[in-house]
Every structure is written in C-alpha cells, then in structure tokens.
Amino acid sequence: MNKSKSFWTQAIRRFLRNKRAFIALIILCLLMLASLLGPYFIKYSYYAQDLIIGATSPSRDHLLGTDTLGRDLLVRIMYGGRISILIGVLATSVALFIGVFYGTVAGYIGGRTDNVMMRVVDMLYALPYMFFVIILMVVFGRNILNLFLALGAVEWLTTSRITRGQVLSLKNKEFIEAAKACGTKPIFIIFRHLIPNAISPVVVYATLLIPEIIIFESFLSFLGLGVQPPMCSLGSLVADGSKLMELFPWLLIFPCSVLTLLLFCLNFIGDGLRDAIDPKMKL
C-alpha cells in the first residue's frame, strides 16, 4: 500500500511540474466553477425569453449578448458547459465501468472465453457506432440520461482492450500467485489486486476520453439529437449560432471559443497525466 501511494504522489508531483498541464487544470477548474456557480450571480435564466429585445450584441446588460429569443447568452453558455462536462464525466464513467469489468474478466479467465470476448470487441470496433447512438437516441427518446448511457455504451471498447492487456501482464506476477496460494477468492483477487494495479493507463485514457465524448455529444446536439431545447449544451449553442452567423456572429463565436477552450484544457491535462504516469505509453 505504501509503495502504491508513493507512486501516485510521485505522479502528481510530476504532473504539477508540467506547466502546460497545470495551467490547463487551473483554467478547467475556473470554467467548471463558472458554469456551476455562475448562473446564481446572473439575474437571467437560461430559458427566460425577451422577445422585445431579440438578438442583441454584447452590452453591459448582457455581457455576451442575447440570442434571437432574447435569452442571455452568457447564462446559456454556463448551462451548456454544465451539460457538456456532466455528460463527459458520466458517459466516461459508464464506459470505464463496462470496459474495465469486461477487460478484466476476459484477461483473468483467459483461454477460449478471452478469445471470444475479444473477437466481439474487434467486431464492434469495425462498426459505425455513431449510427447506433443516433438510432438509440431516436428509439429511447432524446434526453440526457439516454444520451450518456448511449455514449457510454459505445465508448467502452478501448478501455476493455487496455484493461485486458494490463491484466494479462499482471496475472502471472508473484503477488497474484501468492494471493491465489492463500486461497483468495477470484472476485477478491480481481477487485483488490488486479484492478488497482491495472488502473493507471485506464486513468490516462479516461481523461482523454472525456473530451472525445464532449465532442461526440456536441456533434449529436448539433444534429438536433442531443439535449433538447430550451436546455442547451455547447454543441447545440454552436449549431444555433452557425445558422445565424451572418447576422449575429457573436452567437457562434462565443460558444465555439468556450467549447474549444474546454477541449484544449482536457486534452492538455490528459497529455500531462500520461507523461506523469507513464511516459512510454502510446495513446
């Protein structure tokens, strides 16, 4: 236990020394804080319309302007940020949960089971899973819960491959043999010994998966299949803005910049974590 703790403290120290990743982490925290707490400091709500003023450019009343229905863009971006981050984190958790479990079972049991389970993953890899998310969203209704379940359900493949690889290399190590010799139950070996030791590349992959899922979600919202109005996500704001960009460019530019900033931060953090935990890792 002591040993593994020092591994993580070392990793954290290495991570904090990486300036780019550290700055990205700070900006990300600020973005999250702003989107969580920001709406409480603004007197407008994300759905309150003001049809009299309509779309206005940024002014003192509305810092980032308003959309065609007179809704304050700043608040809407904050809510959009909330949704995007929420879906990113939740869908990644779903993907991790399925992937780690699947990969561990396949790697631990090995042999024929492993072969079949991984063939299935290979097969799924080859399919255009975006279509399935689209169909899933159409079939089960377009709401947030379904959105992150659907996204999580298609994004677990790589996690399972990484975990399996780790488990395969770990399961013949002495400490697992020792645990087996002591008569530890397989389920306990998996959860107590295998997963904690196999987790570090999975963590790195997860931080890089979050931005990917945010892009994916925005993509769906852009097509009108994600979050439904009056709720908004960054993707749906970009979509709305792109329809009106000739007249009201700020409706496009602000959501785009926030989304891009968010993705930049997450990617830099992911890269930083990779370098901190395992510089040799290829992701």
């Binding site: 399919l127 931005p211 993509f219």
Partner: protein, 305 residues
C-alpha cells in the same frame, strides 16, 4: 493470405446478420411509424398502407422478408420519399460522400505524414513544437465548430469561397479541409511517434555508420517503419470521416448520403435506416479488411495464419 482473406470475408456474414437484426428490431419498436402524420389517416387507409408494405405481419416474418430481398440487392422502397428506392438514393448520393471522404483522407494523409515526419526528425526543435501545437488545435477543435467559423471567415468576410452548395470545385475546398483537419492532426501524432521509435533503432545507426545519405535514411528506411501506425489507423479514420460527413454535409448543403441517415431515423423511414446502416457497415468492414491486407505487405513481421 488468400485463406485469411476468405476467412475474414466469411466472418462478415454473421456480423451483418446480427447487426441487421438488432437494427431492425430497434427501429421497429421505436414509438411512432413512418406513416404517422399530423392528421390521423382513416384506419382503413392506414391498414391498406400497412398491408402494402407488409407492416401488419409479425416482426420476424418482416425481417426475414427484408433479408431475403436485401440479399438480392433490393433494399426496398423509401417510405418517406414516395417513388424512390433506397438503393436508388444510395446510388445517387453515395458517390458524393465518397468523393468528399476520399479527398479528405488523402489531404489528411499528406498533411499528417509530412508534418509528423518533420516533427520527428527535428525532435524538440521549433519545427517540432509548431507542428505539434497545430496538431493539438486540430484535435481540439471539432469539425462542426471549424466549419462554420471557416465559412464565416472565408465566405462571408473575405468572400473568396462559396458558403455552401455543390457542383463546382470551389465548393469542395472548405468541406474537405474541415473533414481532414482532425485526422491530419491525429495522423501527424502517430507518424511522429512511429518515426521517433524507428530513428532510435540500431539499423538506422548502422545505415548512418555506413555513410548512407541522411535523406535516404529518413525518407526510405525510417519512413517505412514509421508509417505503419498510420496505416493501421486508416480504417478507423475513413469510417470516422464518413460519419463526420453527416455534419459537414448538413453545414455545406452537400447532397450526400449523410443527411439521409439522421433524417430517416427521425422520420422512422424503416427501409432507409436499415439500408443506410447495412450499406455503411459493409463498406466499413470491407475497408478495414483492405487495410489489414495492405498492412501485411508493408510489415513483413506480421503474418496472419
């Protein structure tokens, strides 16, 4: 090799069967049907329509009927666009999507491989940092963000390229660029990583020691090994580009296949959805197979039994 190809081709059959079955069931249990309209049709009319399209039969029977005709190459009529067949729509629109996709992939390859090779050769120099920063931008900015921004700049403010449309070569520039950029970025990272690993190998040292020209070492010996990760990424890249064109086609008003997929699943246009999913899946499965085969030619270390 031939045996391997044959085996892989055989493996496509069960995948397609399972896939078509799941899609069929899912799309049919979705609430709503293709003939739901604002004003309800009289029940007799509805019954006749359902009878015409065999929608009144049990699902399994419908599915078997569908598979039977699909095997003969008939994907059925579109429910929402009267007078058209799914095969006809695909035949007309897919070449456009494919043109867009292939051009984007080629552009992504050219940019990505060049940038990655330069970055790897001049590791940690300013060239490396610049190309890797640009690649970070490419990875971080999704194409549906890039596309409207570029339209705003090049079409609306600078007025050099058309906003949207199809038919002229200038219409292709922005969509191809938007589709290619994220993949170019990813490819440049892969190429850089692959090259770096090769450049450290002993045989590169040997080549240098024997006085081989630097150009030849990098462009022939290191390049050959370094490009392998890129080749194995080609399959996923092309399928990603084909899917990504859903959005790009919507933004630029390109009459390709992508738009039909979203629209038809919202419309519950059963035959269209099935046709699209099956068609895209088979294309992607075949492309992946092709990439795997190319891979064996490039990397003699890999042998499929």
């Amino acid at each position: 090799m031939i045996k391997y190809t044959f085996k892989r081709l055989l493996a496509i059959i069960p995948v397609m069967l399972l896939l078509s079955f799941f899609t069929f069931i899912m799309i049919h249990i979705a609430p709503g049907g293709p003939f739901d309209t604002e004003r309800k049709l009289p029940p007799e009319v509805m019954k006749n329509i359902e009878k015409k399209y065999h929608l009144d039969e049990p699902l399994l029977k419908q599915y078997l009927r569908y598979v039977g005709s699909a095997l003969k190459g008939d994907l059925g009529p579109s429910f929402k666009f009267p007078g058209t067949t799914v095969s006809g729509i695909i035949r007309e629109s897919f070449p456009k999507t494919m043109l867009l996709g292939v051009c984007s992939l080629i552009l992504a390859l050219i940019i990505g491989v060049t940038a990655g090779t330069i970055a790897a050769y001049y590791q940690n120099s300013i060239k490396d940092h610049i190309s890797m920063s640009i690649s970070m931008i490419g990875i971080c900015i999704p194409n549906f963000v890039m596309a409207p921004l570029l339209v705003l700049i090049f079409a609306l403010y600078l007025n050099i390229l058309p906003v949207a449309g199809w038919g002229k070569a200038s219409n292709l520039i922005l969509p191809i660029f938007c589709l290619a950029l994220p993949y170019a970025a990813y490819i440049s990272r892969l190429q850089r990583g692959g090259m770096l690993e090769i450049l450290r190998q002993d045989y590169i040292q040997t080549a240098r020691a024997k006085g081989m020209s630097e150009k030849r070492i990098v462009l022939i010996h290191a390049f050959k090994g370094g490009v392998l990760p890129v080749i194995s990424f080609l399959g996923p890249a092309l399928s990603g580009i084909l899917v990504g064109s859903l959005v790009i086609e919507t933004i630029f008003g390109i009459p390709g296949t992508g738009r039909f997929l979203v629209q038809s699943s919202l419309n519950r246009d059963y035959t269209m959805v099935m046709g699209m999913v099956l068609f895209y899946s088979i294309i992607i499965l075949l492309l992946n197979l092709l990439v795997d085969i190319i891979y064996t030619f490039l990397d003699p270390r890999i042998r499929y039994e």
